[in-house]
Symmetry: C2
Subunit: 137 residues, 2 copies
DNA sequence: ATCCTACAATGGACGAAGTCCAAGTCAAGT
DNA sequence: ACTTGACTTGGACTTCGTCCATTGTAGGAT
């Protein structure tokens, strides 16, 4: 059993076949699948798994901090299992390809108190956009 | 007539009542409306304006660089007429409130060549998340 | 090993955001 | 005033996501 599933079980997760395959599909680096892509891959291993369950499971994983939701403004949200090492994203404006990147510096420190307007700021999301090598003519 | 409409007319835009009211609705600072909000406000002045026209007009304004699309991951995209001064956004995770912010520093310079993976990077979007004063108990 | 039940899965209806199109309308150049 | 190509319209359609009543089952209790 993967570390992930082990961790979840100790948090009271009931270990179902559906949750298992969703977790399996999300294994690896640079994985940024949409919910429907997760569903398609999960369904290869467990054909009767429903979309609702995939959405439920992804939502729980996000709440538990095991998966990050990335909104790429290509239409659907993407689900990123690389939740443990903070990083940002570089994405191709043409084909939607997405890469993890680790910029130097701390954008949170770059937001002066005078620009916080009384918000308690806790998170920062940094998205670089460009054209990937494959899309460059 | 506003500067915006003047500029658009010289670019070959046909000046219709619909486009006029959409442009009017977008006037001002810190405006970050969804397409349906734009439609609702436009319809107060011009009741028969259609959703399709609002979407068309907003899309054209974005292509012309007069309006910026902001994806807030609350569901709908927001349309931002403040396209001429570069800025980023601070948003409330609870109520969706959104503010323009001007962090110091240049995030583009913070992405080393080794982290660009052959992309030609042209744009960077920085989103701060937190809880706004109104949502703090 | 079997039972029990609270939790989880299912599928289909529903909703929100956005796109598309054929038909009708009109801005603006002549 | 005419003409015409650009613009608008409303509604059908798609995609992404949520909701819910019903059915199934993981895992603790016996
Ligand atoms: Mn990632
Ligand atoms: Mn703005
Ligand atoms: Zn690409
Ligand atoms: Zn708020």
């Amino acid at each position: 059993m993967s570390d992930l599933l082990e961790r979840l079980r100790t948090r009271g997760w009931r270990l179902t076949a559906q949750r298992r395959v969703v977790a399996e599909v999300l294994e690896g680096d640079h994985v940024h699948l949409t919910a429907d892509e997760v569903h398609a891959r999960a369904a290869q291993r467990l054909p009767e798994i429903s979309r609702a369950t995939v959405y439920n499971t992804l939502g729980e994983l996000v709440n538990l901090g095991e998966v990050i939701e990335v909104s790429t403004d290509h239409r659907a949200k993407r689900y990123d299992p690389n939740a443990h090492r903070p990083h940002h994203h570089l994405l191709c404006a043409r084909c939607g390809a997405i890469r993890d990147v680790h910029p130097v510096g701390n954008p949170l420190a770059d937001l002066p108190e005078s620009e916080r307007f009384g918000f308690s700021v806790s998170e920062v999301e940094l998205t670089y956009r460009g054209i990937c090598p494959d899309c460059t003519v």
